[in-house]
């Protein structure tokens, strides 16, 4: 039996930030200053607004690939936003100017070093006082591989989404990142003036990871971060990604097309959790939607169509594209919540328009329907997901 939404805990609410919005023609709107995406004020302003609105967290997109380039079209198009800043650094730049909202940048696992990413996210956790996480993403293209020149990438499987091995590598990557976070026990820094010892080296641990893609000795150079284990998240569409999420992540982003589909996805996720023998808390399942919002019925879809026309083709997305009023969106969210989805990550079609609609109208509507608390306290990002600060895997009992 489907529980009534008001009997469920309020859903997590987040915004996914990518440039000036998820529609490739969004930058051409009159109220947009697209050059601002290359400076700090834009990101600080948006994420402060997300915090003011009481959102649980934001994510910041990233890729090693220039937008609009592809194997077929390496030259790309000139009529879309090109270029982006490193998402982890954007997160770090914003963190000291915010106090409550979680910040989850995308970080790639394919060509980068787990040692570097581990200490970067640990440091983001320090500068944000326990509000950090990252969204692990593979870089599956040969174009990205050529930018590093270290290896060639195999061909995608017929479903177009998988390159053999990259998901397994990502799982090893996350394993190393997590072990490094635990490689310092809490309280390893003792500052014992009597013996002259700054650390108790029995509380620092090699991780001695050896895998098919890399070996990492450890310990980290950075002490265990405030949350112990910052949040690890994965966006999943295919089995290999769901398996990765079940093995390695705290949060999984999914792209249901309907509440029926959401139910199917949730069953699949619980099945994957069982298959990989997941221990500890279950995955938090957060549904993604692209949203175009307007108080006047019909206006949002007209605006999207206008942007489609500018771009020369209808917007395509892995996630459901919603056009309509904030009220209608909240109707949909409530329905999906009843299907078992625990939170929503809204991808604004255009910023500031759709972003402002989320932080104002959508949030207000959720509060009105008791699907959202009117305000929230400072807490860690883990606590926001109902996750405790975990025990250290290396700590002796």
């Amino acid at each position: 039996m489907t529980p009534h939404p008001s009997l469920l805990p309020p859903p997590y609410l987040a915004v996914a930030l990518d440039g000036v919005g998820w529609h490739p023609a969004a930058w051409r709107e009159a109220d947009v200053h697209p050059r601002d995406v290359f400076g700090p004020r834009y990101w600080v302003g948006l994420i402060q607004e997300a915090e003011w609105a009481g959102l649980d967290f934001v994510t910041i997109e990233d890729s090693l690939l220039l937008q609009s380039t592809s194997a077929k079209h390496p030259e790309g198009r000139t009529d879309r936003v090109l270029g982006r800043l490193d998402a982890v650094l954007v997160a770090a730049r914003v963190a000291p100017e915010t106090a409550r909202v979680g910040i989850i940048p995308v970080a790639t696992t394919t060509h980068t070093e787990p040692f570097h990413i581990s200490k970067a996210i640990a440091t983001l956790d320090y500068v944000s006082r326990g509000r950090a996480g990252f969204q692990a993403r593979i870089s599956p293209t040969g174009l990205e591989a050529a930018q590093f020149g270290r290896r060639s990438i195999g061909h995608p499987t017929p479903d177009g989404a998988q390159v053999p091995g990259l998901m397994d590598e990502a799982a090893d990557f996350i394993e190393v990142v997590r072990r490094l976070w635990d490689s310092w026990e809490d309280g390893a820094e003792i500052r014992d003036v009597a013996t002259g010892r700054f650390v108790d080296r029995d509380k620092l641990h090699s991780i001695d990871f050896e895998g098919s893609w890399f070996s990492v000795r450890g310990p980290s150079i950075t002490p265990r971060p405030p949350q112990g284990q910052p949040i690890v998240s994965v966006l999943a569409h295919v089995d290999a990604a769901f398996r990765l999420a079940a093995r390695s992540a705290d949060v999984v982003f999914v792209t249901p097309q309907s509440s029926e589909h959401a139910r199917t996805l949730l069953e699949g996720i619980r099945g994957h959790e069982e298959a990989v023998g997941r221990a500890g808390p279950p995955l938090r399942v957060v549904a993604d939607l692209v949203v175009f919002l307007d108080d006047e019925p019909g206006h949002a879809s007209a605006r999207k169509e206008r942007l489609d026309e500018l771009d020369g083709r209808p917007l395509r997305s892995d996630a459901l594209i919603f056009t309509g009023t904030p009220t209608a969106l909240v109707d949909l969210l409530a329905e999906w919540q009843s299907a078992g989805v625990e939170g929503f990550r809204l991808r604004p079609g255009a910023i500031p328009r759709d972003f402002d609609a989320i932080t104002h109208e959508v949030v207000a509507e959720l509060v009105d329907r008791s699907l959202r608390l009117p305000s929230y306290q400072e807490s860690t990002l883990r606590a926001r997901f109902g996750l405790l600060r975990p025990a250290n895997i290396y700590a002796s009992v």
């Binding site: 930058w27 400076g39 600080v44 982890v88 000291p96 570097h116 174009l143 820094e189 150079i221």
Partner: protein, 461 residues
């Protein structure tokens, strides 16, 4: 050297976040965290209040070990360089943000992207201290392990920097036109395109960060070897030198500045900034006493033994630090007892002989000797004296300025900022306000150099 209207050379000053070595006195009652962000904020804001050119953060990618165990007597642990610098951009407005990033255990596409991002996020305040590394010890933390022969580390560093410059130059300054009506975000579809086929890197693709405010971050180099000095003379904007004393500084300054012409560069294109420690007092006697007290804190008995072991290269833990030097000679054949350190003496037998002579001549214990021979404060005295010494070093071409290393975190710069800086400012030798907005402006550097290869060295195949 930047000239004022009065013609006096301007001093450049920077603040080094205290490092993971025994210069840093963590046992001081005022010593704070080395990992909490508030410590970084405090030091960076103090340096900015004092109108310093930049804040500097060092890096080491594996915890140091001695006898195969993690060295536990000094500060251990530090944050990620890029992440802290990006966060500091939020709490400062003018000061440069400089960090060490290793060219061996990183790849150019990623590092170029991170520095370009940091430069955007700080509105033109980023600087990169390019360090090389080769040791398999550090390599154990990375995908490729100890892949690089020691003699190849500068080949890789030079080509790494060259590739990074090519990536930064792959976007034109005015590339982003964002013409909404015309539907052109960029006019030129080839923005970001790069292709580099060299001996160290064979890469191609599209760089995805538009050109940053400084074009390129300010480039620092810290190596001291002949090849390191050449690398700096060819490719760097600043040298982070270890030659802080007047005579050694002058010799280094002459040597490195003398190498510039061969690379088509002028005297002012490369700033030489030695690291310097300092101890202040109201009187010379008070300063000397404080310096002596700090030295004893920096070199505890156990630390003295560890320092001695780095030259003797054997286990000396059974020796009394307050007793005489060991009779036994250094073990030059054994693998190094110490790993992950920037510098240990190269000729151990010679160093040992010198130390033995010094200890015998002055009848010094191990600890007393270590206090004498390991680096002592560059500047000790009253604020007026220290200011005069700094000016003297700059006037007599031993340095273009100094990177100050406080011995206490994070408040160790306060006194310098409050007492020495005003004297330098009143003398017209140090800025009273920031004039430009970028770090290149603060350092009096011109526009970023182009990526076209400057060297005759076979960097590009």
């Amino acid at each position: 050297m930047t000239a004022t209207r009065s013609g006096a050379k301007q001093v450049h000053l920077a603040a080094h976040f205290p490092g993971v070595n025994n210069t840093t006195v963590w046992s001081d009652p005022a010593a704070g965290s080395h990992i909490e962000f508030s410590s970084f904020v405090k030091l960076a804001q103090t340096a900015e209040r004092a109108k310093f050119d930049f804040f500097f953060l060092a890096e080491g990618l594996r915890l140091r070990e001695q006898h195969g165990r993690i060295h536990d007597l000094d500060v251990v642990g530090r944050p990620d360089t890029f992440t802290v610098l990006a966060a500091l951009a939020a709490v400062t407005e003018h000061i440069g943000l400089s960090g060490t990033i290793n060219s061996t255990f990183n790849e150019p596409f990623e590092v170029a992207r991170q520095f370009a991002s940091l430069d955007h996020l700080s509105n033109g305040r980023a600087a990169w201290n390019v360090v090389t590394s080769w040791d398999a010890f550090t390599g154990e933390n990375f995908r490729r392990g100890g892949f690089l022969p020691q003699e190849a580390r500068y080949d890789r560093a030079k080509e790494f920097l060259q590739v990074a410059r090519e990536l930064w130059d792959s976007w034109d300054e005015d590339a982003v036109i964002a013409d909404a009506a015309g539907g052109e975000f960029v006019a030129d579809p080839s923005q970001g395109a790069f292709e580099h086929h060299g001996t160290q890197f064979d890469i191609s693709g599209r760089f995805n960060v538009p050109r940053s405010p400084q074009g390129h971050p300010v480039i620092f180099q810290a190596g001291d070897s002949d090849v390191g000095r050449d690398f700096a003379a060819e490719a760097a904007d600043c040298i982070f030198s270890r030659h802080g004393r007047l005579e050694a500084g002058q010799e280094f300054y002459r040597d490195v500045k003398g190498r510039l012409a061969a690379h088509g560069r002028s005297h002012d294109d490369l700033k030489i900034l030695p690291a310097a420690t300092f101890v202040l007092g109201d009187t010379p006697t008070e300063a000397a006493e404080r310096a002596e007290h700090i030295r004893r804190q920096q070199v505890s008995g156990p630390t003295a033994i560890l320092l001695l072991e780095q030259v003797w290269n054997r286990d000396l833990s059974s020796y009394d630090p307050d007793g005489p030097l060991p009779e036994v000679a250094p073990d030059v054949d054994a693998p190094s007892v110490s790993q992950g350190r920037a510098a240990t003496p190269r000729d151990k037998l010679r160093t040992a002989a010198e130390w033995r002579a010094q200890a015998e001549a002055k009848n010094l214990s191990i600890r007393e000797l270590m206090i004498e021979v390991t680096s002592t404060a560059s500047f000790v005295g009253t604020p007026a004296h220290v200011a005069a010494k700094i000016v003297e070093s700059v006037d007599q071409e031993a340095a273009d300025g100094f990177i100050l290393v406080p011995h206490v975190t994070p408040g160790g710069l306060d006194e310098f900022a409050d007492t020495v800086v005003p004297i330098l400012q009143e003398a017209g030798r140090f800025r009273g306000e920031y004039e430009g907005s970028t770090l290149r402006d603060h350092l009096g550097l011109g526009a970023a150099r182009a990526s076209s290869p400057l060297s005759t060295a076979p960097v590009l195949a």
